[in-house]
Amino acid sequence: MSRVYTIKNKLVESRLFLNRIIASFIVILLLTSGLIVRLVYLQIVGHEHYSTLAKDNSIKIEPLVPTRGIIYDRRGRVLADNTQSFSLELIPEQIKDLDDTLLRLQKLLNISDEKIDQYQKQRKRQKRFVSTPLLISMNDEELAKFAVVRPYFPGVDIQARLVRHYPYAELASHVVGYVGRINETEMKSLPIAEYRGSTHVGKIGIENTYETELHGKTGYAEIETNVQARAINTVNSVPPVPGENLYLTLDIDLQKTAYDALGDFNGAVVAIEVKTGGVLVFASRPGFDPNPFVIGIANDAYQALQSSENQPLYNRALRGLYPPGSTFKPFIALAGLEYNAISTEHKLFCPGYYQLPNVSHHYRDWKKGGHGSVNMTEAITQSCDVYFYSLASTLGIDRMHSFLQHFGFGEKSGIDLAGEKPGLLPSREWKRSQHNQSWYPGETLITGIGQGFIQVTPLQLARATATLANKGKIVTPFLVKNAADPDSADFERENHVDDIELKPANINTIISAMVNVIHDPHGTAKSIGKDINYQIAGKTGTAQVFNIKQDAKYNENDIDFKLRDHALFISFAPADDPKIAVAVIAENGGHGGSVAAPIAGQVIKQYLEGVNEN
């Protein structure tokens, strides 16, 4: 490139560039004029139109909130519905002196300071021009009092709203759950358009898991309103689609029987339809009344629930972790047979304790003096610990772990409720990674009788029992049977997940031993075998309470009670054609046979006799 060419080029470039600067400036001016023309159109030509839209005397787009679906039990009894309720609501931006208005309302209707505080907090979170409730569920007297003076309270009005109601209160609180006000975190994650106008959302339980189905689809209406913001005329509307009604597999009568049968014990009862996995009973005692949560529970009431030593908010059936104790023995015995580690006839002498080779420690049997010579059936019937120490030692932790995994121990069952705990099925690898320690032989022994690290939930125990009853066919427990009416098709789901391959002879041995637990004179739960014309298969358990939670509050007098063993019982019936599987845990109940078994007995009896009636 020659020097001359470059210089000449620079001059050309300069001129070209200046031209482009001028061109761009013209483009910018033209486009800006375009913006201004549009603004003139909006702000001068359209001003009147948009002002009308903007002012109170206008057409507003109002969301039409769908009615929440009703939750029924398996026989159509209402577990959650919507009741009409009147609330006193304020639009702060339409009130001249909010403090004065609140003060006058407080005097008129005897509103507590706490409610005023609550309102103030909620108001600050709200968007502007949104009606915010001060009083919810007004009674007739309050309604009448306010109706008289309403003209003196601009910006304050009575609104009719549907409020969620739970007729069975604490009985099904942990299953059905409750709805509560949408909080800030939820506001961010919920679809905005769908929840414009919705005030509540499912917090726990079925209300939470099936939020989408229960909520329905929001519609909208274009409403013409007058200066007082009262609707005059609906111009156009798209109706909301109400939420689906849900039918649960739960039987509320049976649930009540189980709940009442627990009596004064804290604990849980879970009953499953063996063939389908449908949950018949899902009781956690104590429960709590979910109704106050809907309208916003008072702070002190909530604190009382939270700090109660009985932990009523805690869903024991879903999240309670317990050592399974002797209810574990049928599973260990089955493992022994399947791995050919032991034969059915093999007899073992039980002197009342067990010793590992070259270790002086005595692993004790619950029965002082021992059970004498026992075979497998007798060991299960009488719940001989020594037999299972020995069997566990032969099997080893690795084989026990891999066999028991198939029965769902140590993993979530997959029930349609959020917050399930997976429990803990210990293994060598687990101990290495969690405690950085190797596995000790003594730990294998106590795992064999369902003690030590192992932790199961009542739901897992019921599911594993159903799997035994099904002879290895695994089902996923579920609560929601179908939507719409009870006759319609069930929710499409595949509940039969897998099969454990078991030799028929082995599983039959275990089942007949479990029948002996109830129907043999030596059986640990023989008390519930009387006066029934079918056979129950079961296993008692008594789990040691190792320690009380450090932060738990308790009375001096209660210490002894709190240190008592948990009573457990697993069962299914009828033994020859299982229909129902039940797991019971009564905290600090003492003995499984005397406390937990009768609870299961009552549930089974009521269910089977009910089935026979139908």
């Binding site: 490139m1 080029n9 800006t32 603004l39 903007a54 002012k55 274009e222």
Partner: protein, 376 residues
């Protein structure tokens, strides 16, 4: 606009002016930016529900942005030219890093977490792309030949696609337009530009195919907002009501009633112009547009006075891109362009965009205040 002659630079009118000049600050541009920043606080106070901590946080960002501008104004423009390619390459690397990290996260990934603060590489690319194109074209004679055009186009398309993939369509389009602006100022023939526009129109269906569902929603909603009044159309309908109800004189500061756009964050970010228009009316809007025009005019003047090709191309494209930001945001809020999520420059709440913009102005000031005496 006040016309400034070269001689003024040697006769300081005041002490402050003298200091600013020492700092290589261009006074008319600085005054314009300062005015608009003050205006930003006034509007933000109203739009952000009168919360002081919104203002405090914004003030911190604006302060940081002004510091960065001053620092960049101090740098010799030759240095920008020298490191153009390197900075561009570095920016592309960061974009790739963000994309790879995004594979492990969920949804949109635009941030690079540096521990102390988070950094959005696409913001940096908004400046380094025109730098790169200006540097590349300045190496050759102008107007650019087909081969250079092709290479420049590829250089523009790479960051555009990387950002579109995040996905951040708004920023991608802005980056593409900043690169295209350089080509325009470099003397791309009008015929060629017409051809490109025709081709792009033909490519629209293909672009549609690659758009995310939410991006398609935005375009559809723009075409017919009434179709979804509770969801996506809500913004545009409410925004138009707010602006229209403002009328000629507006409802006065803090007087907005309609600017509750229901999606609270956006009333102080992308849709802040609706609040402004409702409160200050048509007069306010024309005033604000005039202020923007003054800033842009000054920038174009700086570009016209620049001494070398690189500086001219960079300065003019930065000026033009600034206008594009203003136009796209206001056009979106008043319902003539689709909602693409571009903030109103220097006014919207939010940090990175202000920092990038003022960095650009810093470069412009550097170009204007580092002139060397070259005999013509």
């Amino acid at each position: 606009m006040k016309t400034e002659t070269r001689s003024e630079q040697f006769h300081p009118p005041s002490l402050i002016g003298n200091i600013l000049r020492k700092l290589h600050i261009d006074i008319p541009l600085f005054i314009g930016l300062l005015l608009i920043s003050i205006l930003s606080f006034v509007i933000l106070y109203s739009a952000g529900s009168q919360e002081m901590d919104v203002l405090v946080r914004q003030a911190a960002r604006v302060g940081l942005a002004f510091l960065l501008m001053t620092a960049l104004a101090h740098v010799d423009p030759y240095q920008f030219k020298r490191y153009s390619a390197m900075l561009f390459g570095f920016g592309i690397m960061l974009l790739v890093a963000v994309l790879i990290m995004g594979q492990f996260g969920k949804g949109a990934q635009r941030w690079l977490d540096l521990g102390v603060f988070r950094f959005q590489p696409s913001e940096m690319i908004k400046i380094t792309t025109p730098m790169m194109i200006a540097w590349y074209l300045a190496e050759h004679a102008l107007p650019p030949r087909p081969k250079q055009l092709l290479i420049a186009s590829v250089l523009i398309i790479i960051p555009t696609l990387l950002i579109a993939k995040q996905p951040d369509l708004g920023t991608a389009l802005l980056v593409a337009s900043s690169g295209a602006a350089v080509l325009f100022f470099a003397g791309l023939s009008w015929k060629f530009m017409l051809a490109i526009c025709t081709t792009l129109a033909g490519l629209t269906p293909i672009l549609w195919h690659f758009m995310r569902p939410y991006q398609r929603d935005r375009v559809l909603t723009f075409l017919n907002p009434e179709a979804d009044p509770l969801g996506r159309g809500y913004h545009i309908i409410q925004s138009k009501i707010a602006i229209g109800s403002g009328g000629i004189y507006g409802k006065g500061w803090l007087g907005s009633t309609q600017s509750e756009l229901d999606f609270l964050p956006e009333s102080s970010t992308d849709f802040i112009f609706a609040v402004f228009a409702e409160e200050f009316g048509l007069f306010g809007c024309v005033g604000l547009l005039s202020l923007y025009l003054l800033i842009i005019s000054r920038c174009l003047y700086i570009a016209s006075q620049a001494q070398d090709t690189y500086s001219r191309l960079l300065a003019s494209s930065l000026a033009f891109t600034f206008f594009v930001y203003v136009f796209v945001n206001i056009g979106m809020v008043i319902g003539v362009l689709p909602v693409v999520g571009v903030p109103l420059p220097l006014i919207s709440y939010g940090g990175t965009s202000i920092v990038t913009l003022l960095a650009g102005f810093g470069i412009l000031m550097s170009i204007h205040t580092h002139k060397k005496f070259i005999p013509h």
